[in-house]
């Protein structure tokens, strides 16, 4: 504080007043370490994600997924061989991506069953050559009613057993995946990679229109992890590289409900979502408004509050819990005897018998009854105790009335 401000403050001003609220600069300085630490962690995180990619998971059989379960290797090799690979995520995208249905292979893998049967039916008619991977019962019913799924294939390696170019090129193929069984003999089908009991991992259906639908059950053969084993690579490249264009369609949540074309956003007015956001901001501002304290709390040391009657109540509870009826009654009797003696005008040193005689004489009761009440009776239950206590009160009351002139 300078001399001028001291003069302004006038006489009696507190000198050297201390401000406890830190200045913004000080808050910043104090928080510098944590800000730096947060920035450091953020940088580390960004760098590590950039280096390691988006993790080991990712979408199975995605053409952009470099993880072991993805299929980027196949897609990349096909690109190098001059095939245009287009990854799509929804049915409209796929429709837009297929410009030349005759020279396009459509690859569909929908393990999460986003598509409805009708959408599936639509999708498989988009191109002349369709490769359907890991098809379920419902999907098969929609696109190839004569083929049924036959469960998981146990064999680790499948050997070429048909004249299909892709299969003969491969020789042997990794077996992991599902198998199919042709139930409708009237269909024109080629079944390959059998694992016994008429179960095949690859079934090619020739539709009457000339379209080819290939059902591939051996999904492991396409994954980055396994594509170099056996003849997997040959199978994948031959099967998918038949045409100049390859559309790699993995249905996503965008396909769900897209059929009717109405989403929540399209049904609500445009101001609803910004309005909700504004409401949230207002709520935050109101919380700060009401929550900001006008200075810290002032601490006060409060004295202990001890009620003096607590000992008495504690003793009463002890009597009650241990059912000390006689002891409780004796306390009441001693108090009553003292008061009765004083009322009778007897000295403090008077004996119980003298008081009994005095009370009996004044109230007209039997001395024996008075003595039983004041000395001899033993309460055997709480009811006895209450009755005797009431009788003591009545006796005191009677004596007081008898003494009234």
């Amino acid at each position: 504080m300078t001399a001028t401000t001291g003069a302004l403050a006038g006489p009696g001003a507190a000198t050297g007043q201390r401000v406890t609220t830190p200045t913004p600069a000080r808050v910043l300085r104090r928080g510098l370490f944590w800000i730096a630490a947060a920035l450091f962690l953020l940088t580390i995180g960004v760098i590590s994600i950039g280096v390691a990619g988006s993790g080991t998971g990712g979408v199975t059989l995605s053409s952009t997924n470099p993880a072991p379960g993805g299929a980027r290797a196949v897609a990349e090799v096909l690109r190098q061989h001059g095939v245009t690979v287009t990854a799509t995520a929804s049915l409209p995208q796929t429709i837009a991506a297929i410009t030349d249905p005759a020279d396009t292979t459509l690859f569909i893998s929908d393990p999460d069953r986003y598509l409805t049967d009708e959408q599936f039916g639509t999708a498989t008619t988009l191109a002349r050559t369709v490769v359907l991977v890991d098809a379920s019962f419902g999907q098969l019913r929609a696109v190839a009613p004569g083929v049924a799924q036959a469960g998981v294939v146990g064999a680790s390696t499948l050997t070429a057993d048909c004249a299909l170019p892709a299969v003969t090129a491969a020789g042997t193929v990794s077996g992991g995946g599902v198998g199919y069984r042709v139930t409708d003999a009237t269909l024109t089908t080629t079944s390959c990679l059998g694992s016994g009991d008429r179960v095949f991992s690859l079934v090619q259906v020739q539709n009457p229109g000339g379209d080819t639908l290939t059902l591939l059950g051996a999904t492991d053969a396409l994954t980055n992890d396994r594509v170099i084993e056996n003849g997997n690579a040959a199978l994948a490249l031959t099967l998918l590289g038949a045409h100049r264009h390859l559309v790699w369609y993995l249905p996503t949540a965008a396909d769900v409900g897209a059929a009717d074309g109405a989403s929540l956003a399209s049904l609500t007015p445009g101001w609803v979502i910004p309005g909700m956001l504004l409401l949230a901001v207002t709520f935050l501002a109101a919380a700060v408004w009401r929550g900001r304290r006008l200075g810290p709390l002032v601490i006060e040391r409060l004295p202990v509050t001890v009620r003096a009657s607590e000992t008495m109540l504690g003793r009463a509870r002890l009597y009650e819990r241990s059912s000390a009826r006689l002891r409780a009654l004796d306390s009441l009797r001693i108090g009553a005897i003292g008061r009765l003696g004083a009322q009778c005008g007897l000295p403090r040193i008077a004996t119980v018998d003298e008081i009994v005689a005095g009370v009996a004489g004044l109230t007209g009761r039997q001395p024996g009854a008075v003595r039983r009440l004041l000395v001899d009776d033993i309460p055997n239950s709480d009811r006895d105790l209450v009755a005797l206590s009431d009788a003591l009160l009545v006796l005191e009351h009677d004596l007081a009335r008898a003494l009234q002139p």
Binding site: L278, G295, V298, S309, A328, I334
Partner: protein, 435 residues
């Protein structure tokens, strides 16, 4: 920094342009607008850091009374400070209003008055002052807390002073200052004067009469007596653990203070000398050698900050304490509690040492709820409570009897009745010439 309700309203008002345009970008625009407006407002707010503060406080207040504490704010900055100021008093200081609006032009000084009605005895302190300075639009505010300690001493209320006039009248009767038809009790020789009709013939001093020769002939001379003056009264208040117990929502020690104050007021007007010691295991307060108005003032000041300690009273040191106060015969008043024979053993063991030389009065508060409890016995639980209450009364009676057998007097009463009862005991002792 702090936010005002206007700011919140302004943010909420953004719903209008958003609905009108139906555009999500409007939200961002509006928030930017509000933030800019807030920043401008905050920049224009007067700096609360430039405010210089001073307190003007009364030093003492009696419990239950109201005093004004003044806070002087001087704006040494170059912008007007408008906003709220909060004087940070402890809750039991009973400060109203808690926050006051201020409008402090640059270079000027304003006073903010806070009315303090403390509801606890002792030192009531203020720790800080917080100033919230709003900008001209009252949207955002700068807030700063200053450390500015202040304290007022809250004295015992001395409610029992209402009993003082009636007790003083009785004292004057004793003194002979008020005309009464008795000779005037007391044991101390006051003066010789001429016999007037109505004087007790037993008070005629024949020797003085024989010495007296008067032109008008022989006159009878009587002796007058008055109560002893310049006796010592030593009040010892127990501030140990038993004094913390509350009876009728008043700690025992507060009742002891009330009793001591009434007794001191009474005894000092009777011409006696009062010494006060508040003791548990060490001397918590001591008032010695004060007379007149200074006595009560020093007593309340020394009593104000004392709260009972949760330790046992050291009775063994009390005789030496009394010896250190006075070497003469005195009336020793022990304000303590006599609840149970076990807890009063220390008191009982030192009483003979005190009663050998002094007149001792033990003053203790009794709990009226205990007496009430003995009468209500309608349910099983109440019967047990009544039994425990009878037992407690019996214990008290036993201790009181033991104290009387050791030669001391016992005064027990409910909290409101103990001060007058103690004063009455004092008057009775004085009338009996036992001081």
């Amino acid at each position: 920094m702090a936010v005002s309700g206007w700011f919140v309203s302004l943010v909420a008002l953004g719903i209008l342009p958003i609905i009108v345009t139906g555009d999500a970008a409007m939200l961002a625009l509006w928030l930017l607008f509000v933030a800019a407006l807030g920043a401008v407002d905050l920049g224009r707010a007067g700096s609360p850091r430039a405010v210089r503060l001073a307190r003007e406080l009364p030093g003492r207040v009696r419990l239950g009374e109201t005093v004004a504490g003044t806070l002087l704010l001087t704006n040494t900055g170059n912008r007007r400070v408008r906003g709220i100021v909060r004087d940070g008093w402890q809750p039991s200081a009973g400060a109203t209003p808690r926050r006051s609006p201020i409008d402090l032009p640059a270079g000027e000084r304003r006073a903010v008055t806070t009315m303090l009605t403390p509801f606890r005895r002792g030192e009531r302190a203020a720790a800080q002052v917080t100033i919230r300075s709003f900008g001209p639009l009252r949207l955002l505010a700068r807030q700063v807390t200053f450390e500015l300690p202040g304290a007022i001493s809250v004295l015992p209320p001395f409610n029992s002073r209402k009993h003082l006039p009636s007790r003083l009248a009785r004292l004057r009767e004793l003194d002979g200052a008020t005309s009464v038809l008795v000779r005037g009790p007391g044991t101390e020789f006051d003066s010789l004067r001429d016999y007037v009709r109505g004087d007790d013939v037993r008070s005629i001093d024949w020797r003085a009469t024989a010495r007296r020769r008067d032109a008008a002939g022989q006159r009878l001379v009587v002796r007058t007596w008055r109560p002893e003056r310049d006796r010592r009264v030593v009040i010892i208040i127990d501030s140990g653990r038993t004094s913390a117990a509350r009876i009728d929502n008043e700690p025992r020690i507060d009742t002891a203070f009330e009793s001591a104050l009434l007794l001191a007021a009474l005894a000092s007007s009777a011409g006696d000398r009062i010494d006060l010691v508040i003791y548990d295991r060490r001397v918590r307060a001591r008032v010695q050698g004060a007379t007149g108005a200074e006595l009560l003032s020093r007593m309340v000041t020394s009593m104000a900050p004392i709260e009972p300690e949760l330790i046992e009273m050291d009775w063994a040191a009390v005789p030496a304490l009394v010896r250190s106060v006075t070497a003469h015969r005195a009336l020793v008043v022990l304000a303590t509690s006599i609840d149970a024979p076990g807890a009063s053993r220390g008191l009982l063991s030192v009483l003979p040492q005190l009663t050998r030389k002094h007149t001792v009065v033990v003053a203790s508060v009794t709990d009226p709820t205990v007496l009430d409890a003995t009468g209500t016995r309608s349910t099983r639980e109440e019967v047990y409570v009544a039994a425990a209450a009878e037992r407690a009364l019996l214990d008290q009676a036993r201790v009181a009897t033991a104290i009387r057998q050791l030669g001391a007097d016992v005064v027990t009463a409910a909290p409101q009745d103990l001060p007058p009862a103690l004063a009455d005991t004092y008057i009775a002792l004085k009338a009996a010439g036992r001081l």
